[in-house]
């Protein structure tokens, strides 16, 4: 929680919320027998697209091996913030990020940090399933191959199998590993993308509305998978579906107009939100 202190004098609501988060997180940590130390810690993060500021001074701690859901109306900056965590925004020329994001205490925007290595530790799953137009096997093996984790052969086979098993896809595709990944159904494709992200052995998995292109059954499977994955990985998920946030996440953060309004245990936020805007959004009055 030390990083939070540095931003104490910034926004008023922010500071208050952050304080709440801190105490709540501590409470949660205590409740779960010290299991959930802070994994990602953001302080005073602002994002600009050219002149336009998309994110205002966000300060948040994301606990390890839990699912954190970012909720909020469209254009509230939750995806923008998510993409800061693996420096995906670097690929947009006009985008600039201010503030500090630490993973395990290391500042990821430090010039010494290579975004390529960062993205191996922080995997990402996108809104639309986007498997490479290659075989299922190659989809999984691509990441380990470029990072030199394993050479082709039995070591690679093992990584592919483990990743697919963890993504709950192994039994469905084990007989057709060399068929194109684009030939799978939407839900399978999305789980393939999750397996691909797992294959490079990340600590954190970022999910940007992973179920918005899927039907309810595929969504249920992915949600189930997210729940299983949280024993190994820290998961941050952006979602438009309040029900989904309630089902999969332990903690939730509400964004509105580029501001982080409230961070809390998901159960508590949905039953007893602190901020009026959160309440309005959750009860469906806007957004």
């Amino acid at each position: 929680m030390t990083t939070l202190d540095t931003t104490e004098p910034s926004g008023m609501i922010m500071t208050k919320t952050a304080d709440n988060t801190g105490t709540l997180a501590k409470a949660a940590t205590a409740a779960r027998a010290g299991e959930h130390e802070t994994k990602i810690s953001a302080a005073g993060v602002s994002v600009f697209y050219g002149e336009k500021q998309a994110l205002f001074d966000v300060t948040i701690d994301i606990p390890a091996r839990q699912v954190m859901a970012f909720i909020g109306p469209s254009g509230c900056g939750k995806s923008t913030f998510l993409r800061c965590i693996n420096r995906m925004n670097d690929t947009i020329d006009i985008c600039s990020v201010k503030g500090r994001i630490e993973i395990d205490g290391a500042d990821i925007y430090d010039p010494k940090i290579d975004p390529v290595l960062l993205r191996a530790r922080v995997g990402m799953v996108f809104q639309k399933p986007n498997p490479f137009p290659k075989s299922i096997y190659d989809n999984i093996a691509y990441g380990p191959r470029i990072h030199g984790v394993a050479k082709a052969g039995s070591a690679m086979d093992e990584i592919v199998e483990t990743s697919l098993q963890r993504a709950g896809l192994w039994n469905e595709v084990k007989d057709r590993l060399h068929e194109p990944g684009t030939g799978l159904s939407g839900g399978q494709q999305q789980r393939l993308c999750i397996a691909r992200a797992i294959a490079v052995n990340p600590d954190v998995i970022l999910m940007d509305e992973p179920c918005s292109a899927l039907d309810p059954i595929a969504t249920a499977k992915v949600e189930e998978l997210i729940d299983e994955l949280r024993t190994r990985y820290t998961i941050v998920i952006v979602t438009h579906s309040m029900q989904q946030a309630a089902r999969v996440s332990q903690k939730a953060a509400f964004f509105h107009l580029g501001n982080l309004i409230e961070v809390d245990e998901t159960d508590r936020m949905f039953t007893n939100p602190t901020d009026q805007r959160t309440q309005d959004y959750i009860t469906g009055r806007f957004g």
């Binding site: 690929t91 960062l118 137009p133 691509y142 990441g143 470029i146 992200a197 294959a199």
Partner: protein, 430 residues
């Protein structure tokens, strides 16, 4: 229902399904538009058919070549077996002709008689003897082309019923020709010489081989230069270059370059490659370099379009698993863009194949009677060969020009077909 309107006299009492005048006007407009479209297509197709049809009809006589078969005796003394190339073969042929037409003895008549046979006969005989020296001292049959007038006479292009002053052959020549026909010495096999001979002053000997080889070398150079340079430039501009005023300027210039008249590239080639760098005149390497200047913008524009068409989700996926920019482009974006790139390249090359003006300026319209041994030797190219032949006065070149156009069109159609095939074959859906 319909009569209610009439009897009650109330206007607009009409069931919803009954069309009004406005609706039928709308449908009429639809039909008109469709008719205009069909008419335009029919017009375009008939123009194309006329063009191709005219060329094909003009080219038809060039499909065959009239040949004459003579018994030739090569006496022992006429050819030195140790140097068979040095023999006086024209004399040997003349005596063979004289045996058929013994009554022709006046020198003027003899000259007229010889005009019926191709000048290439002596070389056909020489090549046969050189390859088979045992023929020296023997009598054997040899076929060689009739001359242009003989050829045209055989094909009926020269009308023998015209008065003498209006035709190019004399009455005697017609009579001699008829005698050759009566002796069954005239045949008209397929004209392979049109493809496999090099250029010649004599239409019956002229062929496209030199032009084909020249065009092949020029296109090879053009491909080797413009393909890698074009792709690299496009990849850099599309994927790596910062978006600023300089890159904008470069982009505008590339797009304008594609619209520069080709003769300007020819002038550039003349000034830079020939005059400044002192490269060989008329050589396919210079032609290829000039053509690659022309093809570059086409390839760059096609490649950029193909790169743009690769969905951003694929780039995100690659970057998301930690691929570097170079790996993202090299492993994913470029392979996915390749069909589009290849299609653009082939279309650019097809355009280069048919380009004439820049080649004229660097001297690839020279009269060269042998195919080039390398890309540094003087040569012609297909379009410039057509230009040369179209300019030649002999009757035989008329049909050969059209035949050469058909050959060129054939290559273009093939290249475009390959482009379409590749586009279909490698088309991907996301």
């Amino acid at each position: 229902m319909s009569d209610t309107t009439a009897q009650s006299g109330k206007p607009k009492e009409r069931a919803w399904y009954e069309p009004d005048a406005k609706l039928s006007r709308r449908h009429a407009a639809d039909r008109r538009l469709r008719i205009y479209g069909v008419a335009a297509i029919v017009f375009a197709l008939s123009m194309l058919a006329t063009l191709v049809g005219t060329i094909a009809i003009t080219a038809a006589p060039a499909v065959t070549q009239t040949m004459v078969t003579l018994e030739v005796e090569v006496p022992e003394g006429a050819v030195d077996p140790s140097d068979p190339r040095g023999g006086s073969y024209q004399k040997i042929l003349n005596s063979a002709v004289a045996r058929i037409f013994p009554e022709v003895d006046a020198p003027r008549e003899q000259r007229e008689l010889r005009q019926l046979f191709s000048n290439g006969g002596q070389y056909a005989l020489r090549d046969k003897v050189v390859s088979e020296p045992s023929l020296i001292g023997q009598t054997f049959e040899i076929s060689f082309p009739l001359s242009d007038i003989g050829d045209q006479l055989h094909k009926g292009v020269i009308d023998r019923d015209l008065p003498r002053e209006q035709r190019r052959v004399s009455d005697e020549q017609i009579a001699w020709y008829d005698r050759l026909v009566a002796q069954d010495r005239i045949s008209a096999p397929l004209n392979f010489g049109l493809i496999f001979n090099a250029d010649s002053r004599f239409p019956e000997l002229a062929g496209l081989w030199g032009a084909l080889v020249g065009s092949f070398y020029a296109l090879l150079i053009c491909f080797l230069v413009s393909f890698p340079v074009g792709i690299s430039a496009a990849v850099y501009l599309e994927e790596f270059a910062p978006k600023n005023r300089l890159t904008d300027l470069i982009e505008v210039n590339i797009n304008n370059l594609a619209a520069v008249p080709s003769i300007v590239f020819g002038l550039l080639g003349l000034a830079v490659f020939l005059n400044f760098f002192g490269m060989p005149r008329s050589a396919p390497i210079v032609g290829g370099l000039v053509l690659s200047l022309m093809t570059l913008p086409t390839i760059i524009i096609a490649t950029r379009a193909a790169l743009k068409a690769v969905p951003p989700s694929i780039r995100e996926a690659a970057i998301g698993v930690g691929a570097s920019k170079m790996q993202t482009v090299g492993h994913h974006v470029l392979p996915l863009a390749m069909p589009g790139i290849l299609t653009g390249t082939i279309i650019g090359l097809a355009q280069a194949l048919g380009e004439t003006a820049p080649l004229l300026l660097i001297g690839m319209n020279a009269f060269i009677t042998a195919a080039p041994d390398s890309m540094f030797n003087p040569s012609t190219a297909l379009p410039t060969q057509i230009y040369i032949w179209a300019d030649s006065p002999e009757r035989g070149f008329t049909s050969r020009t059209s035949a050469a156009i058909i050959v060129l069109l054939g290559f273009l159609v093939c290249m475009n077909a390959i482009a379409i095939y590749m586009r279909k074959r490698f088309e991907r859906r996301w």
